[in-house]
């Protein structure tokens, strides 16, 4: 911490607030620390607390990194005129429940805002205002690395006098604490104006009545193609409705992925804005290890399946079908190839007839993503439904030529001679414990056991026996450990093991009689592995191999 004399770039203070028990401060309620000079407003002040800074550089862009504190007030940058702390323009992020970013004029009038940005508790962001005497001002928010655009305004006419009159900058809070750093001016803005900016992708947009949101949250399209809808703000319960009324009967389908920590999510059929009618195909039950359920609004459970069906950060296809006075819900794997859970046909005869309503997508206490439907209002088929081959006995082939040798379920042979061939056993699953298989290479250049493997392929590990040795790899291909001691050789049966112990994983290769040939060190990985359920899979590269004896033995 440094005393006032050591602070470069701090000009003046317009604030009140008590000193912090004799701590060196630059102005009451403000502290500074380095070596990256960080100004902290550490004392909560209901009103304005502003500190003038002297940004390095020159140019049309005025910006700083702002990290808002936990209170329901603002923190931001202030562009000033002759009075070093009096506002001409205030650009601030909002710590309130709704969150967002706001540009206000000298009298506090709101010139532009984007509440869809959401809460930014302790998240450093770049706030930038770009001035042009002719066009006015445009503002934008980027992440702390200035690599991701988070919100952006169009050019806002503010008058050439105002733009020309700005010659200073302050940082300020109003009903919040905050930290600030890297205040500067520059000739080049951090990001150009773009039509598909995040603000433009929010759902719903002003003037757009194709969508309606009930319950808050932060809904937006993932990209300008408007194919995948994201709900990015943890919220009690929020629903994004496609406002056109759906047909009375039909099948509706979406892809769904609930992010880690989310308590539930699903698809509403024939809903209304009061959440007083309609049905809900729902992923509920145990958080992150839950069940398929069917509800009717006002919320009443019509059916509930067993837990252990859906997991966080995993893609699924969710279906709801209403025909002939019955309702059925179904959950499928992401590729649409396997039904994970299915409700019985639920008779709606005894119920008060539900008039046709809207299709909607809902999260409960968390965030998620939904896709597989058209932006115009029709839900459509999930992508890639038939991309995997069902091998029977609970196995699916993603690539390669896999066939059973003898009765299904005992020995799998992969015969494709080129490329990586992968088969998955979604029913062989677990978290902590030992995954194992036996393999006899028959020309393959490499054979692998996939363990604690995510069904979407985005997580998990691989015990890889190749011609140059044995390795432990992540699903992303990162090598955690290698050894040249044991290599892939045609005709030699080996046992491959992947062992998951809390946040450590290791692999082992044994001979056909169970003698250990090599074993990796424990490799520390994310402790999300402690509870993450994954499946077993097999892979071979550039040739044939036979696999058998696969199993998972769980640990407490």
């Amino acid at each position: 911490m440094r005393a006032i004399g050591a602070i470069a770039g701090v000009l003046a203070c317009a604030c009140c607030g008590g000193d912090a028990m004799g701590v060196p401060t630059i102005h009451p309620g403000w502290e500074s620390a380095g070596p990256v000079e960080v100004l902290s407003r550490t004392v909560f002040e209901a009103g304005d607390a502003a500190l003038a800074v002297a940004p390095a550089g020159s140019g049309v862009s005025w910006r700083a990194v702002v990290e808002a504190g936990p209170y329901a007030g603002q923190a931001g940058i202030r562009l000033t005129g002759s009075d070093a702390t009096a506002a001409v323009l205030d650009l601030a992020v909002d710590g309130s429940d709704a969150g967002g970013v706001c540009l206000a004029g000298a009298r506090g009038e709101v010139l532009w805002s984007d509440s869809g940005l959401g809460s930014l508790l302790y998240q450093p962001v770049w706030l930038e205002a770009v001035l042009d005497a002719a066009a006015g001002v445009r503002v934008q928010v980027l992440d702390g690395d200035a690599t991701a655009l988070l919100a952006q305004s169009p050019w806002l006419p503010v008058g050439s006098d105002l733009a020309r009159g700005i010659d200073g900058m302050a940082v300020f809070t109003r009903g919040n604490t905050a930290r600030f750093c890297l205040w500067e001016r520059a000739q080049k803005p951090l990001a150009p104006l773009t039509p598909d900016n995040p603000t433009a992708l929010r759902v719903p947009r002003a003037g757009d009545d194709a969508w309606a949101v009930v319950g808050g949250g932060a809904w937006r399209w993932e990209t300008g193609r408007r194919e995948v809808l994201l709900q990015t703000r943890p919220t009690e319960r929020t629903t994004a409705f496609m406002t056109p009324t759906a047909p009375a009967e039909g099948m509706w389908r979406c892809t769904i992925r609930l992010d880690k920590g989310t308590c539930g999510g699903g698809m509403v059929v024939h809903g209304d804005r009061d959440l007083a009618q309609g049905f809900l195909a729902w992923l509920g039950g145990s958080y992150g290890n839950g069940r398929l359920m069917v509800y009717q609004y006002p919320l009443k459970c019509l059916w509930s399946g067993p837990d252990g069906i859906w997991h966080w950060d995993t893609d699924y296809v969710l279906e709801a079908e209403i025909r002939g006075g019955t309702l059925r819900a179904r959950l499928l794997a992401a590729d649409g190839a396997g039904i994970l859970a299915e409700s019985p046909s639920l008779s709606l005869d005894g119920e008060t007839p539900v008039p046709p309503g809207m299709i909607g997508f809902q999260t409960w206490r968390g965030t998620g993503r939904f896709g597989g439907f058209g932006a115009g209002g029709e839900t459509g088929p999930a992508a890639g439904r038939d991309s995997a081959q069902d091998l029977g006995a609970g196995w699916r082939a993603l690539a390669g030529d896999w066939r059973w040798i003898g009765p299904p379920g005992q020995t799998l042979r992969q015969s494709a001679s080129e490329g990586a061939a992968t088969a998955l056993a979604p029913m062989v699953r677990g978290a902590r414990g030992r995954f194992r298989c036996r393999v006899t290479p028959a020309g393959a250049h490499g054979v692998s056991l996939l363990f604690q493997h995510a069904e979407n392929g985005q997580d998990g590990f691989e015990c890889c026996l190749a011609e140059d040795g044995t390795s432990l790899r992540t699903a992303a291909g990162k090598v955690l450990w290698t050894s040249p001691a044991v290599r892939c050789q045609a005709g030699q049966e080996r046992v491959l093991e992947g062992i998951v112990a809390t946040d450590r994983v290791r692999v082992r290769v044994l001979d056909a009689e169970g003698r250990s040939l090599c074993e990796s060190v424990d490799c520390y990985v994310s402790d999300t592995n402690n509870e993450r359920v994954g499946i077993l899979g097999l892979r071979c590269r550039d040739g044939a191999a036979e696999f058998r004896g696969w199993e998972f033995h769980g640990e407490p």
């Binding site: 936990p70 429940d97 930290r179």
Partner: protein, 417 residues
Amino acid sequence: MDTGHCGGTSLQAGAVPAGLSRRGFIRAAAGSLGLAAAADAAAALPGILPPVWRQTSDRRIRIGVVGGRFGLSFHWHEHPNCTVTAVSDLIPQRRAALQQRYACERAYESLEKLVLDPEIEAVAVFTGAPDHARHVLLCLDHGKHVISAVPACLTLDEAAALKARKEETGLTYMMAETSYYRRECMTARRLYRDGVFGEMVYCEAEYYHPWPPGSGERHNLAFHNGERTWRYGLPPMLYPTHSTAFLIGVTKERLVRVSCVGHRPVGDEMYGEAANAYGNPFDSGMAMFLTDAGHPFRCNVCWNIHAHGERAQWFGTKAALYSAGSGGQPTAVLAEGLPRQSLPDFGAALPPALRVDSGHGGSHPYLTHEFVMSLVEGRAPAVDLYEALAYTVPGIVAHQSSFRDGEQLPIADFDPA
């Protein structure tokens, strides 16, 4: 400079009531006045990183890494201010794994040889817990800064020796306590500093890591090539820091008294007063502490219950924060006006290469960064020796209490006079 422990307040001599340390008086007074933020500032709370990372120095710390098991899980070679100069492990396979991990050719057969290397400025000691104090003292004696795995030590004599040697040498010591940089703990620290909790009345923390008889985890942790490792029969309360850090790492309070009840498992050959090197009959310990600010703190460490993880829940007069638990309960922040939400991501404060997930709640890159930057910037690290002993020593006394049916015992103070 020792930023963790300069009071910097204007309190008059004689103003501290009997029974409270000066630190405790400041905290109690600040809490009662709703001035938690002021009290934290008064204690010059370290451990809060700048909002975003910027390279401020070209200096590269030349580090030696010892211990080819846990020591594999850090990011020294990826930090722009650090170079791995050499590695060491007594076991050749682990030594090779360290060389592979850190892309380091130079390897020594032992720590004793590594510390003789004049190029090495600092040593990362990730050896077995009973060796930590001895190995740290060896490094300090050879003029090396040290980061050590937890706990800092297993006895009060070792604690005293560490303090004496650190103060004699003026070298930097940091304990690699992972809970300190778990996201929940980092969030709690920020919320506390910003006064959201009000007075932090009570905290509960727990470390559950089951390795029951016959399990692969016991085989993996308690044995190596059929021989017992240091974990065989380890008293849970001698490994308390994953729990104690959750409170002390947030409020910087000190634990001054403890009553601990241990669980004596029946039929588990690993535990018993003649069954292991520690003379330890307990596989679990449940301790109730009192802080120097008069706050109660419950702390569990269990090696054989059906639960898993390192977590805490913090209760203030104005807010509460709950870590996610192995029972499926989600993380929650409960405070008036503060919406329930996921926890902030503090990753922008790290060099880009270190923004990766890791074991122990993603804490390893932060530990790497903090130790390196404390040396580059010439300041005390967030978990310096005094903090480390404040996390460690209460467990040593708790273990003593468990032998005396939970008798409440005073806890020695190892802070600077």
